[in-house]
Amino acid sequence: MSKQITLNIDEQTVTVPEGTTILEAAGMAEIEIPRLCYFEGLPPSGTCRLCLVEIEGQERLAVSCTQRVKEGMVVHTRTERVSEARRFVLELIWSTHPGDCTTCEKSGACDLQRYTYEYDVDKARYPMYVPEGSPGTHDDPLIERNLSLCILCGRCIRVCREQGQGILDFMQRGMATVVTTSLDKPLLESGCDFCGSCIAVCPVGCLVERNRKLRGREWELEPKETRCGLCSLGCDLVIDVAHGRIVRTRPGKDGYLCVRGKFGWDFLVSEDRLSQPLVRDGDAFRECSWDEALNTVAQHLAKIREARGPDTVGGVIGGHVSNEAIYLFGKLFRAGVGTNNVDSAAGLAGANVAAQVLDAFGNLRPLSSAADLERAKTILSVGPELGESYPRARLAIKRAVGKGAKLIVVDPSESELARLATIHLKPKAGTEVVVLEGVIRTLIDEGLHDTEFLSSCEGSSEGTMSVGSYDASLTGIADAEVQEAAKLFAKGRAVIALSDLREETVARALALLMLTGRSKHGLLALFPMANPWGAAMLIRGDAIPETAGLSAQQMLDKDSPIAALYVVTADPVGSFGGKDGVKEKLSSLEFLVVQDLFLTKTAQLADVVLPLNGFLEEEGTVFGAGGKLLTMTAAAPARHPPLWQVFSKLSERLDHAMGYRSIREIRTKVKELISEGKEGPTYRFPSLTDKGDTRAKGLPPFSRFSLPETSWSARSQISTLTPAQEATLDSNPANTEEVAK
C-alpha cells in the first residue's frame, strides 16, 4: 500500500494516498472543485484554470488538477480570491462563446452553463471576440462539430488519444486555435471510427450526436444502464430516453462505446420497423392482432405436425436474443412441438465455437473478456481486420501493447493492428490456418509446449495430434518468422483474439491454448451478435425427444424434410443471397413464420410475420465474452410482447403449458444450467457435437483435441472470410461500415 498523506481541505482533514492530486483528494472528501479541462480518467492538462485553489503558504493560486498533495498542506477551495479567479476564467470564455443556450442541445447539462450560474458570471464583461472566418458546423456524419461553441478544453483530444486513435488535436495557436483533425480533413477521411467518446467528454455543446438533435432536452432524459447487444463483447451502455423514445446512448462504466454502441442502435427508431403482426393475404400481407397471428401459427404448426410428424417442423433463432428467449425457443420445439429440429443461427455465422471449446476443454473457462485481453502480456490476433470490426477489442489490445504486451497479428491485410504488431504474419488470403499450424509445429518441435499440463489432461496426449510440416510456399511467410512468432507466443501466457471463426481456425487456436496450458481466459472469440454462447448452449433445452435433430444448415438444405419453419431474428435469404437453394427451400415450405425487426428478405416469403423488440427494448441475460452472465435491462419502452411470452403462448396453444409467470423464473432455470463459478463458467449440457444425445452428463476436463484433417490442396480452396461477410450473416443492420455511411 502506498504512503498516506494527510492534508486539510476546506477545514476537513483528508487522508489520501501519496501521488493523489488536490482535486482528486477533494473529490474523496466530497468537495467538488469546478473543472472544465479535467476529466476523470484522462491525463490532466491544467489549462482551463477553473480548478485553481488557494494553498496556505503559497503565493500563487495552485492548479488543483495537476498539483499533488503534500503532508500537512492546507487548501482552501472556496475563498473569495479563488471565486474571483474562476469568475475571471468564465468571463473570458464568454468573450468567445456564442451565448444562445436556448437551442443548444447541451443546455441543462452544460458545465459552462452550470458554473456560469453558480459563480454569477457577467457574460458581457469583456469585449466579444468573433474570429474572422469563424468555422461553423462541419458536415461530418453522426457527429456534429460546432467549433464556435468549443472552449478548447482539450478533453476530446485526450480521450481520442486514450482510445488509441489520436484523430483530434489542436491546430493553429492563440485565438486562432481550433480542435480538429489532421489538416482539418472531414472526420470520414481522418481515420475517425466514430466511437463518439469525444462527445461523451465534451463539457459544452460543441460535440453532439447528430441523431439526438431535437429528440429531447437534457432535463427530459431518463438514463438507464444496460449492455450493448451489437456484438459479443456486451459493453456497458447507458441509454437516455425521452418522450418514450431513445435519444442517445453513452458509454457506461467501461468508458467506451464503439460506433455500433454509440450510433448503431439507430435502426431501433427506424420508421421501417414492423409495428404489427402480418399474415399473408394472397401475394400481400395484412396487419392483424397478436392473438390472430399466434393462433394462425399454432394452428399451422399443429396441423403439419399431425399430418407429417413433428420432425417436419423446425426452428432457427439468431444470436441477438437473450438466454431466456433462446432457452424457451428450444423448449417450445422440444416440448411443445416434440422435435429436436431447433438450432441457433449463430452457428451459421462461423463454426460452432462453443461446441468446439466444450469439446476440447469440457467447460467454457478458456473464454476471455476484453478486460482479460487488456491485461495480457502476449496477444495473438487472428482474423482479417479484427481491430476495425471490433473496436473495443482493438482498444484493449492497444492498451495492452501500451503497457508493454507483445502482439502477434495474423492478418492478410495491412490493418490497424497489423501496424501495431510486434510480429505481423501476413499470409496469403485463406491460409491463416496453415500459419497457425506452423506455430503449433514449432511449439512441439522446439519443446515449447506445456507437457505437464498436457499429461494432466484426460484422454489426451501429444501423440493424438497430427500436424503436417509447415509449408512456407502456401502462406508466403518464411519459416523463421513463424518460428519467431511461436517463441513469442510460448513466452507469455497469451490471449488469443479471434474473429475468424471457421471451424478449422478455431480448432487450431484451441490447440495452441492447450499446448501452452492455457486452460483459462485465453480465448476471446468475437461474434457480430450479442449472445452467441448462450445461443449455442441454451438452444438445447432440457426435455429432449429421442430422435436426433437437424442443424440450422441441414434444415435450410433444399432436400431437408422440413415443411414448417419458425425463424426468429435471422435472415438466411438475405445472408446467402439465394445461393445454396436456401430461398427455394424457404419458398417451398408449407408454412413459414418469421419474427424480426424488419420485413427482411426471409420475412417477405413468410406466411406470418411477427414483429420483435430490439436489444434495448427487452430484458434478459446474455452470456458475455468472458463467460459471465450479463443482464440487459429493458431500457427503452417495449413495442411488442417479449419473446418469452410469445413462445409461452405458442407452446400453450400447442397444448404444452410452460407455466412461467415471469422472465425471472426462466432466468432461475438458466442459472441452474450455467453456473458461473469462481474459475469461470461450467456448463451442464451434453456434448453439443453429438446432437440428440439424450443423456446429460458431465465431461472430463477435456476429451480430445484432434485437428480436423484436410488436405492442403483442399485448403487452398478455403475462401477468406471478410468482416463484411461475417456481419451480413445476420439480420443485424448495425454493422460498422453501414453505420458510418
Binding site: V63, A85, Y126, Y129, D169, G174
Partner: protein, 596 residues
C-alpha cells in the same frame, strides 16, 4: 604567413544585409590589385556591435574603425590606408552632434564603455576557424575542467560565480545544474536555447555568429558537470547564418576531438546536434522547446516535474540560454572570484543587450551589471536622434515593461528592473522617443503575444485577446471610462492564471505603461486625444499660419489633395479629406504642421 595588417570585416547578418559580403569581395580584389595580398589579410568576423553603422571594418592591430562602407569607397580606402598609410577620415565614426571623427575603436564611447565577457571574441576572430578561437584561450577551460576539476567542483565554481540565467528569468545557473546532476536517470540532455523570439532582439544570434565555439565549449563543460551525454543546439530557422556557423563549429570541434567520444582523452563523451526551430515565440519557453525537439506541437507542460527531473523524452534535461553558456568558459578560466567582482550584489557579471529603437547607436552592447540606464542610452547609445527627447526604454521584449525617463538612473540588474515592473529578459532594449504613443506600444506588444500565445490555457489565450481588444478600442477613440479599471483587473488575473511564462509576463507592457503613462491612457479615453500624435483616430493635422511660409511642399506631398492656399501664404488642411498619413508633417521644413 605573417601579415602586417588584419582587415576585420564584420559579416554578421546585419552587415551582410547592408552589403558586407560585396564590400569584402571588393576589398580583397583591391588589395590584390595593389599587390598588398601578402601584407593585408581580410578576416570575416561577426557582431562588431555598432550594427546601425554597418558594414563595418576594423583595421588591426591599430584599431581603426570604418563604418557605412560601400563597394565604391573601397578603392580609395585601400589606396589611402593600406598603401599610403593615411587613414580615411570620411569613413570614420563621428559622435552625434559633433564634427571630429574618432579614428580608434577603443576611443569610441559606444565601445569604450562596454565590458566584454560573452562577446569577448567579437570582431577579433573568424568564427569559421576553430584555431582562431583556440588562439584566444578557446577550449582551455574545457581542458581545465576535464583534467583538473571534478564535476562537483565545476558546479561549485559556477554557483560561486553567481551566474544567473541570461534567458530572462535569471535563475541561478549553478543551482539549475545541481538539480540536473542530482537526477538519477540517464541519459541526460544538455540544451542550448537559441530560440530568440523577442521583437528587436538579436543577442543570441550575434553570439552564435561571432563566436559559436564559446557556446559549444560552455555546453561541453556543462555536460561534464551534469553528466550529460547528448546536447541540442535549438536555433530558430530564421537564423540561417548562425546555424551554418554553428554546424561548422560542431564539425570542427569533432575533428579536433573536442566533441564526441573520449574528449581530451579523458574518457568523457559528449556530442551535440543542431536543431532548427520553426519560429514559434513560445518555443523560447523551455518545456515548449523540449516538446518541439520531441516533434510535438510546442505547448508548455505543467511543472513540476521540472526538466531537470523529466525533460526531453522524459529524461533529466538542462536548458540554458546562449549567453549563459558563453559565460561558462570564462568563469572556469578566470575563476568565480574574478567573475563575481563584476556586477552588483545579486546580479554578477555582464549582460548583453540589443539596443534598438529611437537611438543613435543601435547595436549590440555588453555592459557590467549595475550600470545605469542613462549610461546605456546616452554614453553608449549616443542619445536620441533628431533632437527628440527620450520618453522610455523597454526591456525584456514582449514580456518586459517600459521604464520612464525619471528612472533613467536605475541600475540595471535583475532585481531593480523587476521592481520597476520590467524584466531583464533576454536582453532586448528598445528606446522610444516623445513621438511614441505608449498605449499604441502596449497594443503592439499585446498584438504580438496574443498571436504568439499557444492558445492552450484560457487566461493567456482569451485574457490577452480581451486586453488587446480594449487597447485597440482605446487607440481607435472608442475607449470607455472603465477600460483602465478593466485592464488593471485583467492584467494581474492573466499573470496569475497562466500556465507558462508567456502568459505570466505578457501583461507587463500594459502594466508598466499604466503605471508610468496613465495620463496618456486617460487622454485617449477622456479627452479623445493621442498626446504623441500617433493614434490616427484621435489626431488632426493643422498648419500653424505663424510658421507657414507658403512653400507648398506639403501640398505637393499630400496624397489626397487636402491642402490648399496661395503660394507664399499660409496653407490650410481640409480635415474631411485628410487621411492623417503625416506626409505634410514629415516634409515641412518650418515645423509648421502640428499634430493634435
Amino acid at each position: 604567413m605573417v601579415y602586417r595588417t588584419n582587415a576585420m570585416i564584420c559579416t554578421c547578418t546585419n552587415c551582410i544585409s547592408n552589403g558586407a559580403l560585396q564590400v569584402k569581395d571588393a576589398l580583397e580584389k583591391e588589395i590584390k590589385k595593389q599587390h598588398l595580398e601578402n601584407d593585408v589579410r581580410v578576416v570575416p568576423t561577426g557582431a562588431s556591435g555598432l550594427c546601425v553603422k554597418g558594414p563595418i571594418l576594423v583595421v588591426q592591430p591599430e584599431g581603426i574603425f570604418y563604418q557605412l562602407l560601400t563597394v565604391e569607397a573601397v578603392p580609395h580606402l585601400v589606396e589611402e590606408h593600406f598603401l599610403k598609410g593615411r587613414p580615411v577620415k570620411s569613413l570614420m565614426y563621428v559622435p552625434p552632434g559633433e564634427e571630429a571623427p574618432i579614428p580608434n575603436i577603443r576611443d569610441i564611447p559606444f565601445f569604450k564603455n562596454q565590458r566584454l565577457i560573452a562577446l569577448r571574441n567579437r570582431g577579433l576572430i573568424d568564427p569559421d576557424e576553430i584555431e582562431e578561437y583556440i588562439a584566444r584561450d578557446g577550449y582551455r577551460a574545457l581542458a581545465k575542467a576535464l583534467t583538473s576539476m571534478t564535476p562537483e567542483k565545476v558546479i561549485a565554481e559556477i554557483k560561486a560565480s553567481g551566474l544567473r540565467g541570461r534567458g530572462g528569468a535569471g535563475f541561478p545557473t549553478g543551482q539549475k545544474w545541481e538539480f540536473c546532476r542530482a537526477s538519477p536517470e540517464t541519459p541526460k540532455y544538455i540544451i542550448c536555447n537559441a530560440d530568440e523570439g523577442d521583437p528587436g532582439a538579436f543577442m543570441d544570434r550575434s553570439v552564435l555568429e561571432a563566436d559559436p565555439h564559446s557556446v559549444l565549449e560552455g555546453m561541453t563543460i556543462g555536460a561534464y558537470a551534469m553528466g550529460g551525454t547528448q546536447g541540442y543546439m535549438y536555433v530558430r530557422a530564421e537564423y540561417p547564418l548562425a546555424i551554418k556557423r554553428m554546424k561548422r563549429a560542431v564539425e570542427q570541434a569533432r575533428d579536433y576531438g573536442l566533441l564526441g567520444k573520449d574528449i581530451f582523452g579523458t574518457g568523457f563523451d559528449f556530442d551535440l546536434d543542431v536543431f532548427q526551430g520553426a519560429g514559434a515565440f513560445v518555443c523560447g519557453e523551455e518545456t515548449s522547446l523540449i516538446a518541439s525537439i520531441e516533434g510535438q506541437p510546442p505547448e508548455p507542460r505543467m511543472r513540476p516535474p521540472f526538466p531537470a527531473q523529466s525533460g526531453l523524452w522524459g529524461k533529466p534535461t538542462n536548458i540554458n540560454n546562449v549567453e549563459t553558456w558563453a559565460n561558462v568558459p570564462v568563469i572556469i578560466n578566470w575563476g568565480a572570484e574574478w567573475f563575481s567582482q563584476i556586477g552588483t550584489d545579486t546580479s554578477k557579471g555582464t549582460k548583453v543587450f540589443s539596443l534598438a529603437g529611437n537611438i543613435n547607436n543601435a547595436g549590440l552592447v555588453e555592459v557590467p551589471m549595475g550600470i545605469t540606464l542613462r549610461q546605456i542610452v546616452y554614453d553608449i547609445g549616443g542619445g536620441i536622434p533628431n533632437r527628440k527627447s527620450f520618453k522610455a526604454v523597454q526591456t525584456g521584449g514582449p514580456s518586459g515593461g517600459f521604464i520612464p525617463s525619471d528612472l533613467l538612473d536605475l541600475s540595471v540588474d535583475y532585481d531593480r528592473l523587476q521592481e520597476a515592473g520590467a524584466i531583464m529578459g533576454s536582453g532586448g532594449m528598445i528606446v522610444v522617443d516623445e513621438e511614441t504613443c505608449m498605449v499604441d506600444m502596449a497594443k503592439y506588444f499585446l498584438e504580438f503575444t496574443t498571436s504568439e500565445s499557444c492558445g492552450r490555457c484560457n487566461a493567456c489565450r482569451e485574457g490577452l485577446q480581451a486586453m488587446y481588444q480594449i487597447l485597440t478600442n482605446i487607440c481607435a477613440g472608442q475607449g470607455k471610462d472603465d477600460d483602465i479599471e478593466l485592464l488593471e483587473e485583467l492584467a494581474p488575473a492573466v499573470k496569475d492564471g497562466s500556465l507558462c511564462a508567456l502568459g505570466r509576463t505578457a501583461p507587463n507592457p500594459v502594466l508598466t505603461t499604466l503605471r508610468y503613462f496613465r495620463d496618456e491612457y486617460e487622454a485617449h479615453i477622456k479627452e479623445q486625444r493621442c498626446p504623441a500624435g500617433v493614434c490616427k483616430a484621435l489626431i488632426a493635422y493643422s498648419i500653424d499660419p505663424e510658421k507657414c511660409k507658403g512653400c507648398m511642399l506639403c501640398v505637393k506631398n499630400c496624397p489626397q489633395g487636402a491642402i490648399s492656399g496661395e503660394k507664399g501664404q499660409p496653407q490650410t488642411i481640409d480635415q474631411e479629406k485628410c487621411i492623417k498619413c503625416g506626409a505634410c508633417h514629415e516634409v515641412c521644413k518650418f515645423e509648421a504642421v502640428t499634430v493634435r
